[in-house]
Symmetry: D2
Subunit: 281 residues, 4 copies
């Protein structure tokens, strides 16, 4: 049976990335405390293709996914990326995975328990034997506007906001197991108030007053989280963005900060997360 993909190509055009995307797969991930979470991942997996090769072998991506689906951590994602590079005979390999993640939380006064959902993403690539991974987390929060509070006789507009934090850790010890829960707590403590799935009346009084006492502009929140991430020694690079679903508008307020704490200039393509943000935010 003819192997069309393995033929030679004469157009002299190398392909930066080729592979599969939007594939859902059942996965298990393990957090810092060794607790296993069963969830559902959505993957993209690519490799580069030299100019003289006609096509890649798409089915191998699924085979690699199949092998690793039962234990995803930052470290095992790096293994997957190395495996993609090797089995597809490539120089570069790229993997993204996004999944819902849950934390059991207690309401602030009544201590009623419920689960809050967060979206977590791992973005990784290997270029010239060096693997690079970024951990991304979306954390919903409450934000209350300082300007609105300051100029109004009473009240202040507030809304649900979404914080996205992206971090690089400085070594493998910090990566396995992942620090998802700590990053979530760091963001939640910095907002006007954290959000919960279950609040009783006493809790609602608490969160309303706490938000009123802690007004933050989108600019304040992004700066305060940046300061917290700057002081975390295991983090070598971060970006943080905040989107406020303004209660007084039908559009959103947005702020973005990025900082490379290592002074070295990384060779990797996705170093400039600013680029990402310009083109797509």
């Amino acid at each position: 049976m003819e192997d069309t993909q393995s033929k030679s190509d004469f157009r002299k055009v190398a392909i930066n990335k080729v592979g599969i995307k939007n594939i859902q797969y059942p996965i298990a991930i393990t957090n810092r405390r060794g607790i296993r979470h069963n969830t559902v991942g959505t993957f993209a997996m690519y490799v580069n293709l030299p100019h003289d090769q006609k096509g890649t072998h798409m089915s191998r991506f699924i085979e690699i996914l199949n092998e690793h689906k039962d234990d995803l951590t930052l470290l095992t994602v790096e293994r997957m990326i190395e495996s993609m590079k090797e089995k597809l005979d490539a120089e570069q390999a790229f993997l993204n995975v996004s999944f819902p993640y849950f934390l059991e939380k207690e309401a602030p006064v009544t201590r009623s328990k419920s689960f809050m959902n967060y979206t977590v993403r791992i973005v990784g690539e290997i270029v010239r034997d060096s693997v690079d991974t970024i951990l991304e987390i979306d954390v919903p929060v409450t934000t209350l506007c300082p300007c609105s509070k300051s100029i109004s006789e009473y009240g202040a507009h507030n809304q649900r906001g979404l914080v996205t934090v992206r971090v690089r850790f400085n070594d493998h010890d910090a990566k396995n197991p992942m620090d998802i829960d700590d990053l979530i707590h760091l963001v939640e403590q910095t907002s006007s108030c954290e959000v919960f799935a279950l609040l009783k009346r006493e809790d609602e009084k608490y969160v309303t007053e706490q938000a009123y006492e802690n007004p933050v502009f989108v600019e304040d929140l992004v700066r305060d989280i940046a300061l917290s991430l700057s002081s975390e020694k295991r983090i070598t690079w971060y970006s943080v963005e905040v989107t406020n679903f303004e209660s007084i508008h039908n559009h959103d307020a947005y702020a973005y900060i990025e900082r490379d704490k290592s002074n070295s200039s990384h060779a990797h393509a996705f170093e400039s997360a600013n680029a990402t943000s310009v083109a797509h935010s």
Copy 2:
């Protein structure tokens, strides 16, 4: 050239609806004041198919769309539906169209002008020579929680909410031209405060205080809008639903009311909008 679609079918299974969906088309609509809006519609167009007919002729839907795209009103949508029934030789025909609609609004204090976006839908069908159309509008608003205000020392959680109103008018005079603007105003006046694209500091003080003075539960807002729609004589049937993007949760609060003011029982399939809501809200 063989016409496979026109062949006979022997399975004895009639098809309720067959046609095209998710087609975007440039359209012009005309509102009550005769003002023309250029916008972009997303259409679904279906007819029924008797048990003995193998297929429908999909290209005819596009031809009908092509003919009517430059002047959409509730009345011309009814013409399109009649045309679908006739040209596709059907007993029933169904059409949905959804489009962004804009109103120029003035900020409450500074009178600064800006455009606010709303989503409008027209849903129509013809069954046994009787055409039935529903006008649907999504209106974003601010809602402030009365419980949060009442139990807290200061502040009150508030958020963007989305109101969806669906109405049937009692005759053609009311339908042409459509009353989109009036329905939007009716909803906006009933909320804690309307939302704007452009607010300066004086305006922000105004909307903050107005929302604090007009707290509404999702239950209050849905009831108040229901009362307003009940008192509108040209409206014979309505439903109203409110979704609050709660600032203290990562989920939404929801309420739904439906009322048939005519005592007659309509024969039409989509009479029970409740059904719609159960299955999909």
Copy 3:
């Protein structure tokens, strides 16, 4: 602390549905063979509210969700709905849940194993002590056009299609455990060819030829699945819809059939799934 929600309301407007929506929760479901699947559910939970009651108690929905999250079947969803009715002191209660579901499949020739994702929904309500549930499944398939095959010298346009089947079962024995896998197989066998996550070259030859040998219009596929569902005795009512993401257009082809096999007329609101489809498809 004041209980604003429990106050009386004097507007004399009953609310059809009030509650929470778009809440994600970690869940476990059990299929017909007793196999447990850990997945993520997105819920909507509503009750009716009499005209003289000011508000509902939103936190109770989460408490009920919390209690049942570890074992969802059609039967336990019915328990949840009964519990909502009781704990919120309502006459009617409504619940929707949607979740990704996975089946391990073997490629048709090489028998390579991989997981395919499907979306499953359970939609239930209780009205006057009678609980009613519908099981919905989205099944992706390949469809190949008979007209294109018949009129062309070679080739035939084909594409990914999405089949949505909704069924009511005739008694509780059929509901517990759920028949998700059987419904998926029923749909997959009726299409031009089923789809897989992992196909090697021998498999790709097989699925290409199988699709060419089994051309189906959107009308054929919806009818063939309807016939299969008609012959399943445990199913008392069904609807089936097919959406083809046409490879030759930028819009979709669509067909819908619904059949009530019981001759009794159900009192329940969502009986007329046709209504659902008119308004939202």
Copy 4:
């Protein structure tokens, strides 16, 4: 009235981007032939904020949007970005706008006319007085698999694909008016077959056979479009990505190429579109 935003900030954290996003606005754009299109734009508008300034003035973005909404071209978008930099007293300014765009097309045999929809985006920024804009277009096409054709007795799997082209032009003459239509034609000519809203039977025979005669892997299509863009002298930089909605899978195939034809190294942040693609594709 206190101007909280204008206060000083002492955290010493500069903000890369702050502003508004997800705002819909009615716009008019003008294409190369001077033809005006009324459509609907979705905007994001940001500026940088120095470390010692507390907040930006969000309402000014809307004022700038208001001024320019009636005439958008690549050149007027550059004016908007310069205006943002000036009126918000910033060093950097960023703007994205996305809108549906329509071309009237004739079916290949019957010459029946219909409108096809495309999504167009303009992404621009100003850094240190140098404005940089990218034009992006999404073009739906048909792709037919060469491997499937080659190994199968008859038939070949094919599907709708989506091509996204991003280009930088070499000077202002090329930018005003924009070359949207030419870029669309360039992509459509390179695919297995272009797609249409309206095809009659004779046309369907034509497009089926044309696709069968022109099989392309996702790798072939991305390379052929890259070659076409390389030979366009007015284009100094481009990227092209193809996503195939595989008819035999429930996931997509993907390929990406990027090339900077100027040998100079641009200073601009979004130069490395590769970065964008790693993180978000």
